[in-house]
Symmetry: C2
Subunit: 411 residues, 2 copies
């Protein structure tokens, strides 16, 4: 902020709507600014390793695209998204078992994040209960809260969301006359927990949802990025009432902001209108690039390359944890970007963070992934961007900080 | 929609939030689908004539950008937008008199449409009054309504928004204990009215706003696209409490969805957080392209080219109207994309539209630009996309339909 910032009318701050009260800068924000210094190993972000992309080939493809289709690609387009790209998206979703969808059922969004925002706008009345996993994706929580939802966490274990707990949560909500608007779930390689919803639980969760007339939003950014074997088919492949969110941010490039929602008609029709109101049309240019990429590049091979790369990085992280932090617990994901680590009793991940950054390693404290203060002993470690050497060094630094703190606590 | 559309759970439609009730497909939507046939002259849309862009040069520039900066440009970025682009935007705004802003005061958005959506989310509580010109930009009305605003129109004349009417509207709102959240205005070459707020009225409007502690949102997509002389300086150049919206959709390319908001601190801080919640970060790639374009192409010359081109088209439209529809009234804009036409008494622009489309010409009925049913005799004609010959032919067809209808009415 400049020092010459003009004096504002006091009425400006008073003009803010009630829903803005939840929108505040997180306490770790300033710390993350420091953590972006090159000497700090960041295990905090969720940035894919896009240096692995065939940049020259993409550069030439995009040049040709502008030269031959520039007047369409650089123009306004439709609120539902490019029909051609939507046909390609059907092929992507078929890889995870979704075979009954048509291009008409899809809406292209400005990243799947924007699908979350638009669905929240469409579904959440102030005070509405919503159910999310515990822990859950931080920016989904931010969006739900920004539409004044009341967030209820449902615990997971190593097999993902626990159906028995979901059932009892729904019953206790019903007992207090609350009807939750939806269940938001990341069934594959959960962000941040790294766990995957087991096959047998999937049908059980869907059965519970049907019984309780509970809308399910399935967010699946990581499903194709498995390490040993593909995760079970998408929830949406079994139940067409599920709203399914996908993205090209992890398999191609997040800087394009191209994601999608597959939604039942009554929601989809409103979603298209809400998309038009919000951005008129998602970028025609970026959609054309993704469409070109899926048609002309060997994107399956690229996804295989990412799998190999992230598997190595995950293994580097797990090995380093086993070596340096044997007194902690962690999940061992079979895909995705994240490991969820539990510190020894008596440690607080948020309080530890300034020391960690000082020691040259950054992570995200577990409390970021809960709306209710849980997660104090937890840490999300991401292995997507740093290389195996950097990961090992980051864990070594983290272990020093943990050891130091335990020693100090013991005194 | 496919015929095999699965049967949805009835609970889906019931899950929709109250605010969605305003989101419905406009009645002219189906008609516009027909109007996109090549034999129909469309005077309906607001698509810039981007065929005038130096496509080969842009194609090569973007290729180099990906090859040299792909790993940054295709990655996630920040919720506030590229610092480098924000520096360039300061130069753009200086052309309209805004010289006290810093890059820190700016937020890049997914088109200025998304700034409107985010500001509405930040400012509008259900039932809040907002003031807009009459007529006003259709998709601003859609956004405001989607956040359950109560829209009040303030009439314009050939010099734009009428300060006396604004004052009396504010007084009548105050008398009924309503405090409007903001005034939304398009002071230059208004969409749809084509009129420009006169210099002497600008200070008067700002004075009224200060007196009434009324936040002003100034939307300025067309200011640089003047025909004879530049419009007066931006309202924001005089009063830093004004929120100013700009876009590259009209001067460069709408398919990139790059716009911006210049906002006082208390609103801007929330706007950045709301932007992050909605899309994580606006497309880094598209921002890098606009940044490159402003640095390496002669964009001032390109804007001059657009001015000449749109001036010719506007003149073609005005001449055709004078020849074929002398019994109508219309505005004669000195810039922008639109002429606002008033039909002879007894005609209804919405009722006329199906006949017009049948006759091979499309336009937007005036009612689209009012929240309260006004505009039945009005029509928005856009001259941005069709060439002068097409424009003349479109007006000829429209005149036939009007003449026919007047004759039928006389019988």
């Amino acid at each position: 902020m400049s020092e010459q910032e003009p004096v504002e009318g006091a009425y400006l701050a008073h003009a803010l709507a009630e829903r803005t009260s939840s929108l505040s800068a997180s306490e770790v924000r300033a710390l993350f600014a420091v953590a972006s210094r090159p000497e700090v190993v960041s295990l905090a972000g969720g940035m894919p390793f896009i240096s692995a992309l065939p940049m020259d080939s993409i550069a030439n493809g995009v040049r040709d695209l502008i030269a031959t289709q520039g007047t369409t690609a650089l123009q306004y387009s439709s609120g539902q998204g490019s029909p051609s790209l939507r046909e390609r998206i059907l092929e992507v979703m078929a890889l995870e078992g979704i075979r009954d969808a048509t291009a008409e059922d899809l809406v292209v969004t400005t990243g799947s994040q924007h699908a979350l925002e638009l669905l929240s706008k469409l579904l959440i009345d102030p005070g509405d209960a919503v159910i999310v996993e515990g822990p859950s994706y931080v920016t989904a929580l931010v969006v739900f809260k920004s539409f004044q939802a009341q967030i209820h966490h449902c615990a997971m274990d190593e097999h993902g969301l626990d159906p028995a707990r979901l059932r009892s949560l729904l019953e206790s909500l019903r007992a207090s006359n609350k009807r939750p608007k939806f269940l938001y779930t990341i069934p594959n390689f959960n962000n941040p927990a790294g766990v995957t919803l087991a096959l047998e639980r999937r049908s059980e969760i869907l059965k519970i949802a049907t019984e309780h007339e509970l809308l399910v939003i399935e967010d699946n950014p990581y499903g194709l990025l498995y390490f040993s074997s593909p995760p079970p088919n998408a929830l949406r492949s079994v139940d067409p009432n599920v709203i399914y969110l996908g993205t090209f941010s992890k398999t191609f490039a997040p800087g394009l902001r191209v994601g999608w929602a597959l939604a039942p008609k009554s929601v989809r029709e409103k979603l298209i209108l809400a998309n038009e109101a919000a951005v008129l049309s998602p970028s025609a240019f970026n959609q054309a690039i993704v469409d070109w990429y899926l048609r002309h590049e060997d994107w399956h091979a690229q996804v295989d390359k990412y799998r190999t790369l992230y598997r190595e990085r995950k293994q580097a992280l797990i090995s380093a944890l086993a070596t340096s932090l044997p007194n902690c617990n962690w999940t061992d994901p079979d895909g995705g970007f994240y490991v969820w680590l539990t510190l020894p009793e008596g440690l607080n991940s948020r309080e530890l963070l300034p020391d960690a950054v000082k020691a040259g390693v950054a992570y995200t404290p577990g409390t970021a992934f809960f709306a209710d203060g849980q997660g104090e002993r937890e840490i999300r470690l991401s292995f997507c961007l740093p290389n195996p050497t950097e990961i090992a060094e980051g864990v070594r630094r983290l272990a020093n900080v943990v050891t130091e703190k335990l020693r100090a606590n013991a005194c």
